[in-house]
Symmetry: C2
Amino acid sequence: MRTIRVAAAQMGPIQKADSRQAVVARMLALLDQAIGQGCDLIVYPELTLTTFFPRWYMTDQAEVDTWFERAMPNEATRPLFDKAVAHKIALSLGYAELTEDGHHFNTQILTDKAGTIVGKYRKVHLPGHAEYDPERAFQHLEKRYFEPGDLGFPVWRALGGIIGMAVCNDRRWPETYRVMGLQGVEMIVLGYNTPSVNSQKAEEAGDLRMFHNHLVVQAGAYQNSCWVVSVAKAGVEDGHPLIAGSAIVNPDGVIVAQAKTEGDELIVHDCDLDATRFGKETIFNFARHRRIEHYGLITERTGAIPPPE
Amino acid sequence: MRTIRVAAAQMGPIQKADSRQAVVARMLALLDQAIGQGCDLIVYPELTLTTFFPRWYMTDQAEVDTWFERAMPNEATRPLFDKAVAHKIALSLGYAELTEDGHHFNTQILTDKAGTIVGKYRKVHLPGHAEYDPERAFQHLEKRYFEPGDLGFPVWRALGGIIGMAVCNDRRWPETYRVMGLQGVEMIVLGYNTPSVNSQKAEEAGDLRMFHNHLVVQAGAYQNSCWVVSVAKAGVEDGHPLIAGSAIVNPDGVIVAQAKTEGDELIVHDCDLDATRFGKETIFNFARHRRIEHYGLITERTGAIPPPE
């Protein structure tokens, strides 16, 4: 057994007016719980430190940039890193990253137990749109405020295993899991901010959206025989509801722990990385069963091209 | 609305001793039901015409070849094709194909309503093994008796839509759906023979195997916004149980019809191909959202290669 005791730290809503310091105070409370339960790793959601600002249309880049972090850790998050190091617990959190040379990414990091950032992932699959869309019930401007991630889907040897990351909409794309699966990933940690309402289809039921949220992570876990830790920011942010349903999924695709609330909530599970081996060595032994000579379109073609009429 | 009324024709068990003629008589009874319900298409499972013979270890190629069809239609299946043509219903069925030049494939075909074979698919992802395996509770010798399919994952314009096929284990691989999704597939029809017991893990629960059976087709349907018609051969064949659970899955990944028995059973649903459009134009608009520059490993690498220690 190579066990990681992982804490999925679901965050409740964060209002526009909430300060980074107020958010970090809530994160510290969840961290205290995780420390109390002897966790090895705590995973916070996408854009943990702020409201889900891509719902707001902004034209002033200086205003946009107030939602981004220029360094990590920084003054606001330093207490989180300090406490994690003191208690030897690894961290993963999402935030809006503004690089020194002016690039904007939707980023997730992973530290080791010494507080060193050992992995950085930048969201590849940005949903939504870049310009104000009057047809939508509300905006989803990730393509406006972020560039697509430029780091691919790396994995890292950390915490005794092979760990990868993804962010929100990435989880709906099987390519996300497969690229990591082809690097032997044993645990994928990811966070999300998912509106409870489809901005383009008001009648889409909330329970269908929750079903999709779980379906994709369960399939990704099973089809690559890895753990997936999927963590929400949930609840109503300035009138805009986000789904909850944070879940820890085993390599059989089964949800073994799930959040019950739409608020700050910790769910914990002992994830045995050796439980990934059976699937990787049998039904999903890629070397024996994959037939890459028939997969060409996946990397040759971005969009769908139907056959001629 | 472009509606295909589809019948998923689950087959109960077929014993080694059952003749092709006896099987076709059962297929005709299901076809009669489908005709009575005004169906446009009836889908039979993988290796519809015989028992799931890859569970039996054979060393005499002449004996192996008795399980294969040298032509389609042939004498045994002619009554099926004749009745389908007379009632203008399209057919899809799976069978073991022996080509004129001696190749063996696990094949599925699709006819139009005039009885012309418009599509042929040969199973790409062969599970199991090629040599007798004394470690297994029973054999699964698909890699012994079949060659991997050599036709890729084509789609066809048929029945007013874009239709693709897959066979059994193919459904567990997201590449299967994605290659067809990149060709705009609107409906995937597939059949399966799936043992109720894992030959390498006796303690694996039957309900977990059924969950996996549905999970993969639901994810494939949702992630490519297409219908999936997934049809079992089920029940106990000469002491070896196969799972049932035939299902018709909509482009949201929701099961809209499911078989209740482990025997011959028809489930019917009106599948509106235009219901695939919303997903294909929004969240799974591949042209807008896919990032093929980060998918390279999917086609470069067959097996998993973990990062250096």
